[in-house]
């Protein structure tokens, strides 16, 4: 079984974030990055499936050069191979654009199963996996939890119709400005 796990690198949860000078993203210098937590769940599930059924786990990451660190961590955890999609055109893509790039890479791999995290800690679209399924022409199931003993709730159960393996499990707009939510107190202090 060939399993693709989509994995993204995001700012660390503990990082102190500041808006960049262009006010369209955060300042990425001087902060640490980590693997997006929901994607770690996807990777762990992929590795468990591989252990049980054999096969291969291929990590697919879209991101700049710094994302190699995330890829290394995934390989250290037991992934067999990785695809790194790196191009300046990929900076701050929306979910649609990200899914397009991922789909182009994943199509060539012809996997049996694609796993993604539910959403990312930065944009938080919670869409990329679903769009990816549409682009690959595959069914999907979101917010999945597998039925392992003691694993807790599944939010929704979906089972493949005969002959179809549900192959994707996730997880043209522009972000013009990113800013701190201003509290009423701050607005008063600023004289507004």
């Amino acid at each position: 079984m060939k399993i693709i796990v989509c994995l993204k690198q995001v700012a660390s949860r503990d990082a102190i974030l500041r808006v960049n000078t262009a006010s369209n993203w955060i300042q990425e210098s001087d902060i640490s990055f980590e693997v997006n937590e929901p994607d770690i769940y996807a990777l762990e599930e992929g590795l468990r499936l591989k252990e049980k059924q054999g096969g291969e786990v291929v990590v697919c990451t879209l991101g700049p050069a710094r994302a190699t660190q995330a890829i290394k961590e995934a390989l250290a955890k037991g992934a067999d191979r990785a695809l790194h999609l790196d191009d300046t055109a990929f900076a701050n893509l929306d979910a649609h654009g990200t899914a397009q790039a991922l789909a182009a890479a994943i199509r060539r791999e012809n996997p049996d199963l694609v796993l993604t995290g539910l959403q990312s800690d930065d944009f938080g679209f919670a869409q990329t996996g679903v769009i990816l399924a549409e682009m690959l022409g595959l069914p999907h199931s979101t917010a999945s939890k597998t039925d392992r003993a003691g694993s807790g709730a599944r939010r929704r159960g979906a089972q493949a119709a005969p002959g179809h393996l549900p192959r994707l499990r996730p997880e043209e707009e522009r972000t013009s400005r990113v800013y701190r939510r201003q509290s009423k107190r701050n607005r008063r202090a600023a004289g507004r």
Binding site: A11, R13, L17, V19, I26, D94, A95, H96, A99, D121, D122, F123, G124, F125, A126, Q127, V130, I131, A133, E134, M135, P139, H140, S141, T142, A143, G152, A153, R154, R155, R156, G157, A158, Q159, A160, A161, H164, P166, E172, E173, R174, T175, S176, R177, V178, Y179, R180, R181, S183, K184, R185
Partner: protein, 330 residues
């Protein structure tokens, strides 16, 4: 008909629930700012009475989208059905409430028409002809302005509570109900829903609690929950949590407070390490006194807190427990 605003009216267990009405309210709001008429689509099987109920709201038209293949929700079926509706009507906006179901199929629907979905918006601003949507990024630490750059239809889902159910304008007459012709081949449905289940029976009713100590992601590790439990014990409080804590299984689902959990209104609400995203706020903003402890002084929880402590909860809570014990003993 390019100026129509199409509302997706979700129904749950045979009823039109809050998300449907909130989406209607959002669409009416958009129509007020950008013009156009609101129409609503309801998808399923045997939905005539729901369509009738919907027709009482101030809508131009209610579209029923029925097929035996749509008797049960599937992402494949619903996105294929609505895609045909959108192709026929060519609306300018397609408006959803950001529910679990919408998260499941709306990105797929938009992508099938080569469009983007702006998901989970808190609201929008109207600047000339531009609609600038606001959504939270970095887990609520920042907001972002987002605009569509391509051609309509524009797909947009709004967060629970972004528009109020009670702001829906009622119509003076019943809207026209139209059945939309669609075709869904059986093989287009590639998943089969299994039995529905709810993991946790509502074993704990937090809605009646007078004091609640709630904990969020700031607690970092499940082992650290002991500290929070001690504070709850000292205060004689019930324990609550934000969604990430319950999703991670650190506390049972019936402790969750917010839009997908319980709604509470205690006399005292202590929020520890909770950033206070709107989904959490809608579940606790009725609390009389809110005490918030969060390292991030910009956290939205401070906007609605009576007392705010912008500091590390691991520094604040232990001496607080001691002081409460002392005060109680004295």
């Amino acid at each position: 008909m390019a100026d129509e605003i199409l509302v997706y009216a979700e129904h749950q267990e045979g009823k039109l629930a809050r998300p449907a009405w909130e989406a209607v309210a959002a669409a009416q709001h958009l129509a007020g700012d950008f013009g156009g008429s609101c129409i609503a689509a309801i998808v399923g099987k045997n939905i005539g009475s729901l369509a009738g109920e919907l027709a009482g709201a101030g809508l131009q038209e209610v579209l029923t989208v029925e097929s035996p293949q749509l008797a049960e929700y599937t992402a494949d079926g619903y996105s294929l059905a609505l895609r045909q509706v959108i192709e026929q009507r060519q609306p300018r906006f397609v408006v959803f409430s950001h529910t679990y179901q919408v998260r499941d199929f709306a990105p797929r629907l938009a992508a099938s028409l080569d469009r983007a979905l702006i998901g989970d918006a808190l609201g929008y601003r109207h600047e000339g002809e531009r609609a600038i949507f606001v959504r939270q990024v970095f887990q609520g630490k920042f907001s972002a302005d987002v605009e569509f750059t391509g051609k309509p239809p524009y797909f947009i889902s709004f967060q629970a509570g972004a528009f109020r159910e009670d702001s829906v304008q009622r119509g003076s007459a019943q809207a026209k109900i139209t059945a939309v012709e669609i075709a869904i081949p059986a093989e287009a449905i590639r998943t089969r829903p299994q039995e529905k289940f709810r993991e946790a029976k509502q074993a704990v009713d937090l809605s009646q609690a007078e004091v609640i100590v709630a904990v969020g992601r700031g607690i970092k590790k499940p082992e650290n929950l002991e500290l929070v439990k001690k504070l709850a014990e000292a205060l004689g409080a019930e324990l609550g949590a934000s969604r990430p804590i319950c999703d991670s299984g650190w506390l049972p689902m019936d402790r969750q407070i917010g839009s997908s959990g319980q709604t509470v209104a205690p006399k005292l609400y202590v929020a520890l390490g909770i950033s206070g995203a709107i989904q959490h706020q809608v579940g606790m903003k009725g609390s009389r006194t809110v005490v918030a402890v969060n390292k991030d002084r910009e956290a939205p929880i401070f906007e609605i807190s009576t007392y705010g402590i912008a500091d590390d909860l691991f520094e604040i809570v232990p001496p607080l427990i001691e002081e409460i014990k002392k005060a109680k003993a004295g």
